[in-house]
Subunit: 567 residues, 2 copies
């Protein structure tokens, strides 16, 4: 009888345990979890803090008992594995309130996850500084909110958890500051897309500190408010916060700090056992999810997987991949031959009423890797604009210059964002070119889409670029214009006054352009623009065929606005 | 200078005109439209009648003037083409209030559309019987509603327009009957999926008459109500409807009839000109959208295109394909070499708060064509079930038995239906197998999806079928059980009493099954079932490995309910 030992009882570990049982009714399966809970909904933690998920129990998907009853898995919580002996094939388990013991294994699965990064900043161990990884962390944050009624919270880090926590704390009525070391939140997307999040944060009253590092946390001594001594009963009680935060730029007073600056694979145990780590610091596995020791598999946030586009090792701490890896590892531990197909890093984040999502590579990483790319922007309605409830979808599509291979995509907006990135994630995984996006047959009725969906439009725009039918330029080009170039805005004058104008453009509305061609020079390159790029395309085609040298600003003024906004 | 003449100024024709101008600034483009409007939003008509789209103007996307100004297209409305002379390359145009004239063409594009079918039923020409194809039809329906205040409407035909009109009229406060000749509404999906629509219609108080034909329309003579003579002031005024409908089963009194029993390609003009029609009665075109006359192209509802799965000729009157075809035809008329890639028939329909969508083939058509298939059902939450607002997605997936090639998919529910069918439409078009659906990396955060999305789950279930890991049975098998078979329901007893039970199942809850194996016979085939098929899968795997012969009812009791419900 095979004995499978699993270290870690959340996402990847729990998926593997259930799948292993289904595949082998007779295997002995032991799942060891350091914490109190297995298979809890860690992605739901911020939403329970924010109050959107009312019941804490809703987050507890399985219990040790339910796992035992249904899957005949021996689940041991409060059981930390402190050593792995690969030569004897044993692990040493330290129960929280008990004696250590060893367990033999035939196959061992590592699903230790990743821990929040806690940098060595002065005062970081203050009890008002929290991280959020598990139920206990969530409970601690809820407890401080219930007992101490903090009025101001500071979230450090603008990734998924940072953004979700900023929103959650705002929902709870706190004043919230968000401190982010880099120039943008949400690293998976590019800065101009992140600017939509910056705008949303600011519009909800969140103090946004970009390009700002946390340097020290200092407790503020609490004095009872001596209103009488002040003799000013009608003056509002002065803010008395618990902490002073020293920032790289300025300082903040706050009551609680949520540290959400990223996670790091939990590999101490693993590397101590002589199991190979990869170049990114995660556990190295092959596509079978097998580590350098053939009897030991690893899955989830702690492992490095192959990037779908480049094949390079990547750390992608996401729930979907963890679940799929767990399933694959279970099959393979039982003699199967399943392979993990690489990670695109498809992800989405809700922020108040909007969503932002991405798949594949962003422009920053393509530049860093030296991969050639083209990019186009489309701003189109989430469904037929004449049907109520349509909102703009802002889509950025990155693709290879000749083949048109999809390299990555990002989308943001209020409606239909998940759908568009899902479609592009499938298209990328299936190896479709942007040309084929034109022909995708997507569901259309006015409440759901458009006869020519955002995705089709993006395919058309990209194909026009590939075919040389509509050469495009970018905001970068507009910002670096030379005397040999001219910026032509073909919007109608009221749009310029109401929405905003380029500082250096001449304006000829599209519907007058054919009659006013003689106002344009043939010895300059004309950069054409409109609101979103559609009228610019029509103008660009017209001008090209009248002998002008033209490029169309992809995404138009809207992309210019996104790209140049300052927060 | 090339002269392009376009017959028909909606969807396909208008798309072609705009694209042709962008591709060739110097071509002469003349667009002839029989009606008053070009490029109107015909998919929006029912929603304006229902009041969801408030402004009639919102449906008028372009005017002849706007087309002229922007695209330099000579748009002539109220201009019917009454003859095509292919040898002289001319068309004869009959303006509504003017003299006929001829126009020469270099390339001719036919985009005549399809007309509502109006069968030769006695009384069908009654002025209270309407069809809905264009703005004029919509205006006529709105006029009768405004002036005659009908209280009861009968919609004949349960396709897209029939369903949308039933809902629209209900929104307007009318009592509504829906009469459908076949056993189900919404022909693109299979009967058990359509049953979800039947339930929705009935729950909204719409009288549903399935398997019922309209045989005659008879006006009812209107009498003034003589309340005095009746001497019964306290009795409600008796219903006095305008029409009596004789049905194949029974009769109905109603005030207005909306005929929505389908459309037929408008081909009289085309066939009179000697242009070839196809086997389905539409205009025959090659993948370049070229008719049997190389200078004449055709697009939209009037043409036959290749079915994506079988390559057979199909009539698919949908807006998306029409738009894409228009674009392709425009390129090709100007010397391009673009090819239409076949039609999956991806479609969606909103009905009150739910949506139903499909792509590819349904089970009915696979049977008719003699194509072997497997089918699985998944009922899973539209997003993480612990996050508010999750609703079940009911998904039916049809695939080839060995290759796992996707043949078709259908989905219904309140949330996330468009997204799931979009993903499957892309997967099918890209040639993915159901195995690959397991690995799709879709956007996941609790408000948007699940770490293991409905689509991933469907891929896992289908792969388990392909791999023989979880042989499934269908509702048909449960309904035709023999003495050599046994139905085992592994739900918990409260589910049986609250939700419903199979008449012939034995019940052992899953969590007790491992201890009660001796209650089951080894000499019978055990059909296992639960609520949606997930616990059935766990039970099936367990039983198989204990030496039982097992099949899991795919989709469980929920699919059984859908399949056996009577309306």
């Amino acid at each position: 009888m095979t004995r499978i030992v699993i270290i870690g009882g959340v996402a990847g570990g729990a998926s593997a345990a259930a799948r292993a049982r289904r595949m082998d009714e007779h295997a002995e399966i032991i799942m060891l979890e350091r914490g109190e809970f297995v298979s809890f909904a860690n992605c739901g933690l911020p939403y329970h803090i924010g109050g959107e998920i009312e019941s804490r129990n809703a987050l507890l998907l399985q219990t040790p008992d339910s796992f035992k009853q249904r899957f005949n898995v021996d689940v041991r919580v409060f059981s930390e594995v402190v050593a792995i002996d690969r030569f004897d094939k044993t692990v040493t388990v330290k129960p929280m309130n008990g004696e250590s013991y060893t367990l033999t294994y035939d196959k061992l699965l590592l699903s230790p996850g990743a821990a929040p990064v806690k940098p060595p900043i002065s005062g970081i161990d203050n009890p008002h500084v929290f991280t959020l990884r598990n139920i206990a962390d969530m409970d601690a944050i809820l407890a401080v909110m219930a007992t101490q009624k903090p009025r101001h919270a500071t979230v450090v880090g603008g990734g998924f958890i940072g953004l979700e926590m900023a929103e959650a704390l705002k929902h709870r009525g706190l004043n919230v500051a968000l401190v982010e070391l880099s120039a943008q939140v949400m690293a998976p997307v590019d800065p101009e897309m992140a600017n939509m999040l910056h705008q949303k944060l600011v519009s909800h009253g969140i103090e946004l500190h970009l390009n700002t590092g946390l340097e020290a946390v200092t407790p503020i001594e609490q004095h009872a408010v001596e209103a009488e001594a002040m003799d000013q009963y009608d003056v509002a009680e002065p803010a008395q916060h618990a902490l002073k935060l020293t920032l790289s730029r300025g300082q903040l007073q706050t009551d609680v700090v949520i540290l959400a600056i990223g996670v790091r694979p939990e590999t101490l145990l693993v590397s101590a056992a002589g199991i190979a780590l990869g170049e990114r610091g995660g556990i190295k596995v092959n596509s079978s999810m097998q580590t350098s020791d053939p009897d030991i598999y690893a899955v989830g946030d702690a492992v490095e997987t192959a990037d779908f586009v480049t094949g390079d090792a990547a750390l992608v701490p996401l729930a979907g991949p963890a679940n799929r890896q767990g399933r694959i590892a279970a099959d393979n531990m039982l003699g199967g031959d399943k392979h993990y197909q690489g990670t695109q890093g498809t992800a989405i984040c809700k922020l108040f009423d909007m969503a932002i999502a991405s798949t594949g590579h962003n422009e920053k990483s393509l530049k860093r890797l030296g991969i050639n790319y083209e990019k186009v922007y489309v701003h189109a309605a989430s469904h037929a604009s004449y049907y109520p409830g349509a909102h703009p979808v802002t889509l950025k599509l990155l693709f290879a210059p000749v083949s048109g291979k999809i390299l990555g995509a990002q989308a943001a907006g209020i409606d239909g964002i998940d759908k568009r990135i899902d479609v592009l994630a499938v298209a990328q995984r299936a190896g479709l070119s942007v040309r084929e996006l034109q022909d995708l047959e997507l569901t259309y009725a006015p409440p759901f889409g458009s006869a020519r969906d955002v995705i089709n439009q993006a395919g058309m725009v990209a194909t026009n670029v590939l075919d040389g039918v509509d050469p495009v330029c970018q905001v970068e080009d507009v910002l670096a214009m030379t005397d040999e170039q001219l910026l032509l805005d073909v919007r109608n004058p009221p749009e310029l006054t109401k929405i905003g104008a380029f500082p250096n453009a001449i304006n000829i509305p599209l519907d007058q352009l054919r009659q006013r061609l003689d106002e344009l020079p043939k010895d300059k390159e004309i950069l054409v623009t409109c609101m979103v790029g559609l009228r610019g395309h029509v103008a660009s085609r017209m001008l090209q065929q009248h002998g002008f040298t033209v490029k169309n600003l992809t995404g138009g003024y809207k992309t210019y606005q996104m790209s140049t906004a300052q927060y």
